[in-house]
């Protein structure tokens, strides 16, 4: 492709559609980050497709000036797989909420990851059903009061990153809508990854599940409540970077150390460490964010092409196909 002569800006990815999310919704911040990343990558907007299912997050394609298809609840990953089958060169992003990806479409997320289809899966996890007016979701914490669980929910939530790792995801990350430096950093890496990339974005629903992620989303205590892991760097956290996480590999657990020099180094190629980071839910530990796992393996359409190379069928070749096993009467 010829080098772009004009540097794209986030504005180039704005559509003429009025954005219809609630004021204060975390989706605005994600939209801003995605436009920024698209501009930075410099990808040709005409080769980008945003695919979504149903839900608040699923309105996303209408707000990005690329190709887009707003499809069926839960089915965006399989529709995106079909897009890649027909044209592997397209840059395909799939956007969905926790209802889309973890409930009705859980099966498709599982198989997109297992097949390693070269798509970016952006999970906007607000742990609630927004568009249908606030029912608890498979990501809701136990005790979530909602119109469908007036006494509080009591079933265990899905851990999206742990699920993605178990499904064989080659790129699994967690970030949050409010992290306007970290979010684009993760998205850039997800985009660069060849294969299925799952990015869980903790996203605040200001109307139905405000503050679901507590301090993690609040600037004030964020440094104490979270740890951002980066490949090859020590897992330190705290406002003064004065604490560290020590990985206890034998049991797959962590402990906090007051000696940052003791902190373990993050290794994004270590599946056991990635799984341990994904599963942290001890309130005494900071919530891990960052790219937990990133290992490349052949993506689906590349493997397909190697295995069964597609080639157009000419009329002459069609004759051979038809004539197989024929006889003359």
């Amino acid at each position: 492709m010829a080098e772009r002569l004009i540097q794209l800006t986030p504005r180039d990815f704005e559509t003429d559609q009025e954005v219809r999310w609630c004021p204060g919704c975390g989706d605005y911040a994600i939209l801003k980050s995605v436009r920024k990343v698209l501009a930075e990558v410099g990808t040709d907007p005409d080769s980008v497709v945003f695919v979504s299912g149903i839900g608040c997050a699923a309105r996303f394609p209408y707000y990005v000036e690329t190709y887009g298809i707003h499809s069926i609840h839960g089915r965006a990953p399989s529709l995106a797989t079909g897009i890649k089958l027909a044209n592997p060169d397209l840059d395909v992003w799939v956007v969905g909420g926790d209802g889309d990806f973890l409930a009705i479409g859980g099966n498709h997320v599982l198989h997109a990851l297992r097949r390693n289809v070269d798509i970016n899966l952006l999970l906007f996890n607000n742990a609630i059903y927004g568009l249908t007016k606030g029912q608890s979701s498979p990501a809701s914490l136990p005790g979530t009061r909602s119109p469908s669980t007036p006494g509080g929910s009591f079933d265990a939530p899905v851990n999206a990153t742990a699920l993605a790792l178990a499904a064989g995801g080659g790129f699994v990350a967690r970030t949050a809508d409010t992290l306007q430096d970290h979010l684009p950093e993760v998205l850039l890496r997800a985009h660069a990854h060849r294969g299925a990339a799952m990015v869980e974005i903790l996203q605040n629903c200001i109307v139905y599940n405000d503050n679901a992620f507590g301090d993690l989303a609040r600037k004030k205590n964020r440094a104490e409540a979270t740890v951002i892991v980066r490949h090859g760097e020590p897992m330190v956290f705290g406002a003064a970077a004065d604490k560290g996480l020590v990985y206890e590999a034998e049991r797959g657990t962590f402990r906090v150390t007051a000696e940052p020099s003791e902190a373990s180094l993050h290794d994004e190629t270590n599946p056991a460490l990635a799984a341990a980071l994904a599963r942290v839910d001890d309130p005494s530990l900071p919530k891990p964010l960052g790219i937990f796992y990133c290992v490349e393996r052949a993506d689906y359409t590349t493997a397909l092409e190697r295995h069964l190379p597609y080639r157009p069928l000419t009329r002459e070749a069609l004759k051979d196909v038809l004539h197989e096993g024929s006889w003359t009467a």
């Binding site: 005409d46 027909a86 597609y310």
Partner: protein
């Protein structure tokens, strides 16, 4: 407009039947045995041999859903029926002239298919006490005189084939497997036919295992030699004169083969990347296997994680500029319904093929039924019309799938094809089409950004432009939320929804003007009774009408290949007959449509026993419709008057 625009080959075949001459001598042979006896392979190889003798033929595999039921059980019996002779064989035959019964269970479950005085070839070695008991026989029927109304030939095929292959040195297991080839050899003696092509095929098929080739060939030759030595004869069922298939290039195909070859043709004629997305289900999976065997030539195959993913992946492929195809049987088609509605809303091409089977739910997965017509016509949420086509014969699958692809891409609409378990599995000779004469399918992709609107429409077809991702300057969004006419932007405007709903309906209605032209298939052009059918009942209706014509009755046969939108001249054709009967394998789904669309007092002839119509049953029911005494008991069919479902 030429008739059956995309169906030059089939047209020839259909025309060949319109002579109304008395058909020449025909033979019906039925093979029945354990599901492990290799009955389907035997039937398939015999069919090929028969075709090579220039006979027209039609076959009906009749096998259980169980893969390997317990040996000797009645529910594990697998059968294969073939009718052959002359030209214009349109059904597998009402009753068999010859029955090969490999064991007692096969005799028990298939004897009723044999005509009085017919020939039974019984594999007596398998008539052991244990097998007799399993089949529910108190006495050995080969010895108790209960078969005196038939000719009986008793042969210990198990022992004879084992002896024949002993010299090849294969193990006991392989020796036991050669029985079907021994029987095939005997068939060559009884019915004629050359062994060499079969031997060539065995040599190729088992090339990796020379001892298997040797044992199968030895069994084949021994079966033939046995017939010769014992001077066995099939009596009237033996082939008389050779068949009369005209000169040409043929191959024996099932409906599944024809559908797969049709999709390959779509790839070649359109240049589109056919993206075939499917999930395993009986009997539709065979098409996935066929296409996968083409190894990427024009077609990408994708085995999805479920039926819904198969449908949505296919739709995604069409969105991206390929042609998505998804296939299933009833239960899977139900799951694809939401995606079909999105395809209607997003106005994207898509082929959805339903290989119908007896339902509801799992029903009888290997048995045919035509009970998904309402599902195809109406089984979607919202106002979601789409064209529905149905092949009448295995060969026609080739032409119908090409026509469906043409309609889908010309009109930017999903198209459904209704096949069934009978069409998918039945085999017949098919004259290869002239590939160079097949008209191209020319999808138009929008490339000009000037004035581009994703939901502007072609003034003639009302199709919207197909603008595939990757095209410079055409970035746009589509989706399930109602789109503003023209711009395609989200719209909740009341007038716009009315307009778009009307446009989508009108767009599909206009397919009728461009779709398959229909006229009487055969028989009277006007007169006392029009028999209307669709799908796999073609052959049975054709033969029943033909018999009635030979008795001087003014009966015509019209077979619908396009069920939505209905052909524009259908009303005029119906009006040329004083009575109309609709024959179908369901509880009267098309007849209700005909009654409501045309306000005619159409009679209904239906059957839902998991089997194709028998010609004699159908003729009796149609005669009842003709003389007004519909509902006479005793012919095995239910003749329903009107839509109220009143039965005899």
């Amino acid at each position: 407009m030429p008739p059956f625009r995309a169906i030059p080959v089939t047209e020839h075949r259909l025309r060949s039947m319109t002579g109304r001459a008395e058909p020449g001598p025909r033979t019906v042979v039925r093979f029945a045995g354990d599901s492990g006896d290799g009955i389907q392979l035997l039937g398939g190889e015999f069919s090929k041999a028969v075709a090579l003798e220039h006979h027209d033929l039609l076959t009906l595999p009749d096998f259980p859903a169980e893969i390997r039921a317990p040996a000797g059980s009645t529910f594990g019996v697998s059968a294969f029926q073939i009718q052959f002779g002359g030209d214009g064989v349109l059904t597998p035959g009402d009753e068999a002239d010859v029955l090969f019964a490999f064991n007692p269970a096969a005799l028990k479950t298939n004897l009723h298919t044999l005509k009085p005085g017919g020939l039974i070839v019984a594999g007596e070695g398998a008539f052991t006490d244990r097998n007799l008991k399993r089949a529910g026989y108190a006495e050995n029927p080969l010895e108790d005189g209960s078969l005196t109304g038939f000719r009986l030939i008793r042969i210990d095929m198990t022992r004879l084939s084992a002896e024949a292959v002993a010299s090849t040195g294969v193990g006991k297991k392989q020796a036991g497997r050669a029985k079907n080839f021994w029987a095939l050899g005997l068939c060559f003696w009884l019915f004629g036919g050359r062994r060499e092509p079969a031997i060539d095929w065995i040599s190729r098929k088992f090339a990796a295992a020379p001892d298997v080739v040797a044992s199968n060939v030895a069994a084949l030759n021994a079966g033939h030699a046995y017939g010769e030595t014992m001077e066995l004869d099939a009596g009237d069922a033996a082939l008389g004169a050779r068949g009369e298939l005209h000169h040409g290039l043929f191959r024996t195909i099932t409906g599944t083969d024809a559908m797969g070859l049709g999709l390959a043709a779509v790839a070649a004629l359109s240049g589109l990347k056919i993206t075939y997305c499917s999930y395993p289900i009986t009997p539709a999976s065979a098409l996935l296997h066929f296409l996968a065997s083409l190894k990427g030539q024009g077609i990408v195959t994708f085995q999805a994680e479920d039926e819904i993913a198969a449908a949505t992946a296919a739709l995604g492929a069409s969105y991206a500029g390929g042609l998505g195809v998804t296939t299933s049987s009833g239960p899977g088609i139900a799951l694809k319904s939401e995606t079909l509605s999105l395809a209607v809303a997003a106005e994207l091409p898509l082929l959805a093929i339903d290989v119908q089977r007896a339902g509801p739910s799992t029903g009888m997965p290997t048995k045919p039924e035509q009970a998904d017509l309402n599902l195809a016509l109406y089984g979607r949420h919202g106002e979601a019309p789409l064209p529905v086509l149905a092949p009448a014969t295995p060969s026609e699958c080739f032409d119908i799938v090409i026509e469906a692809a043409r309609i889908a891409t010309d009109h930017m609409t999903p198209v459904m094809i209704l096949s069934d378990a009978y069409i998918a599995n039945a085999a017949e000779p098919w004259e290869l089409p002239e590939v160079d004469a097949l008209p191209p399918i020319a999808p138009t992709f929008r490339t000009d950004p000037e004035g581009f609107e994703p939901f502007a429409r072609d003034p003639d077809t009302l199709a919207r432009p197909w603008a595939k991702p990757g095209t410079p300057g055409l970035a746009h969004r589509v989706g399930g939320i109602e789109r503003a006419s023209g711009s395609g932007e989200i719209s909740y405007d009341p007038e716009n929804h009315q307009r778009m709903t009307d446009l989508r309906a009108e767009k599909v209605a206009r397919v009728a003007l461009d779709g398959l032209d229909h006229d009487i298939d055969s028989g009277a052009d006007r007169g006392d009774l029009l028999v209307l059918g669709w799908g796999s009942t073609y052959g049975a209706i054709e033969e029943a009408v033909s018999r009635m014509n030979r008795n001087g009755l003014a009966v015509g046969h019209l077979h619908l290949r396009q069920l939505a939108p209905l052909p524009p001249n259908l009303g005029a054709i119906l009006a040329r007959f004083s009575r109309v009967a609709v024959a179908e394998l369901n509880k009267g789904q098309l007849v209700r449509l005909i009654r409501s669309e045309f306000l005619v007092d159409a009679r209904s002839v239906t059957q839902v026993n998991g089997l194709p119509f028998r010609v004699s049953d159908l003729e009796a029911a149609l005669r009842d419709c003709l003389d007004g005494s519909q509902g006479r008991p005793g012919h095995g069919l239910r003749t329903v008057t009107g839509s109220a479902g009143k039965t005899a």
